[in-house]
């Protein structure tokens, strides 16, 4: 008569909603503060069209990051396997998976594009946060203006080859221009000033008619950001920025990780294929070849960034 199951056969949108509630509740029980970012609330706030998210993004106060990860691990979530070199290149978040869930929980300790210290950024966003009901659970989220800024930064940092990001960014700008809300623009400016996003979000702020707070155009972190945007999230460019930030003593190790990944890591990159010994050699050299080919683009992106030049479809050409 009764069909009662625990099953991974749940729709993606249901899983994301429930996982958001799970993450938010885990933070509450831990006594930590966490904001659910991006996700379904963007559509609710009129910042983008509704669409299914593939994962949950939880931004936890930085000093409780490890505790929060441990709390999720206690609930059966495990760190998604990734390349060792990625560990050194992606420092802002960790992706967790659960064998019975069809979505990840990405736990952020900070968010790319906010250049102030992570703790200060979180405090600034928390000070103006709001709540939303996910699956009957009250969850903390950034307010609408902060959500817009996060979405803009996320889009700017994404590859323009991913047309969805470019469309979402243009749609966001169109919506805010049409709203023509001076208070909202002021809120964007205030958040950008408080979080160190004035320079990184400058194209967005200008596009929606918001005032751009003063910022240091020679800030190395800002130049690295612009280089990243200019390179269109190209992995070689990302590696080049990490290389630049890494002390000389640790560079050989970083180089080995990048140039000579393990067989397991190569298989991780192509999970749909069964890579035998010959295919592994091919994948290794193919990867080196792609890196070599994209190196000029990465260097060019960096050179333009160091001159304060944006070169991205998100920005509409050089500024």
């Amino acid at each position: 008569m009764n069909e009662t199951r625990t099953t991974p056969r749940m729709p993606q949108d249901v899983a994301v909603t429930l996982a958001g509630a799970l993450a938010s509740r885990a933070a509450t029980r831990l006594g930590a503060r966490a904001l659910l970012i991006k996700g379904q609330q963007l559509a609710s706030a009129g910042l983008r069209n509704p669409r299914n998210s593939s994962d949950v993004d939880a931004w936890v106060e930085p000093e409780r990051f490890e505790d929060f990860i441990a709390a999720l691990v206690a609930r059966g979530w495990i760190e998604r396997p990734r390349w060792r070199v990625s560990d050194s290149m992606t420092t802002h978040s960790i992706s967790l998976l659960h064998p019975e869930w069809p979505c990840d929980i990405d736990v952020h300790r900070n968010f790319p594009g906010f250049l102030e210290p992570a703790a200060d950024v979180f405090e600034a966003l928390w000070a103006r946060h709001t709540t939303i009901d996910f699956a009957g659970i009250v969850c903390d989220i950034p307010d609408r203006a902060a959500s817009a800024l996060i979405l803009a930064l996320h889009s700017l940092r994404s590859s323009p080859d991913e047309i969805r990001h470019l469309n979402e960014y243009n749609d966001l700008v169109s919506r805010l221009v049409a709203e023509d809300d001076p208070e909202f623009r002021l809120a964007l400016t205030e958040i950008a000033a408080a979080t160190g996003a004035a320079g990184t979000a400058e194209p967005f702020l200008l596009a929606v008619g918001a005032e751009v707070p003063p910022f240091d155009r020679d800030d190395p972190a800002l130049i690295a950001w612009v280089a990243h945007v200019n390179a269109g999230n190209d992995v070689t460019a990302v590696f080049a920025e990490r290389w630049r930030e890494t002390p000389w003593s640790r560079r050989p190790h970083l180089l080995v990780l990048a140039l000579w990944p393990s067989n397991d890591e190569l298989r991780l990159a192509q999970p749909e294929r069964t890579l035998g010994p010959t295919a592994l050699v091919g994948a290794r050299f193919s990867r080196l070849g792609r890196a070599f080919v994209s190196l000029p683009r990465a260097l060019g992106a960096r050179r333009r960034a160091s001159h304060g030049e944006w070169d991205s479809p998100y920005v509409g050409g050089d500024k």
């Binding site: 625990t6 749940m10 249901v14 509630a21 799970l22 509740r25 699956a135």
Partner: protein
């Protein structure tokens, strides 16, 4: 004694037209993925609203399914007992006519 089953506090739930996905957050360490209620389970679950007694839920199920009352009553009570065991429902025992067989299950504080 009249038994009124109520949903446990702190559950996360997404309900679609014919399916309910219920995540037992108060016991998430042991019950790590959602329960999916479909068919008769869904019909019973949606009738657990803190106002209906077990007998009234059985009545509603008999009316909805047209099945024999004795059979429906047995299956419904079995299902409610399962839910109690999982900590998904609690019960409110009130003075009056009714069934007080099931033991009180209180999930850990969330």
């Amino acid at each position: 004694m009249t038994t009124i089953p109520t949903r446990a506090q702190g559950l996360a739930e997404v309900t679609e037209p014919a399916t309910a996905y219920v995540l037992n957050l108060p016991r998430i360490e042991e019950q790590q993925s959602p329960y999916v209620f479909e068919g008769a389970a869904f019909e019973i679950w949606t009738r657990i609203d803190g106002t209906r007694t077990e007998d009234q839920i059985v009545d509603a199920m008999v009316e909805a399914t047209g099945a024999e009352r004795e059979l429906v009553a047995r299956d419904t009570r079995d299902f409610l007992a399962t839910l109690r065991g999982l900590g998904l429902i609690e019960q409110d025992d009130r003075e009056g006519d009714g069934d007080a067989r099931a033991e009180l299950v209180t999930p850990p504080a969330d």
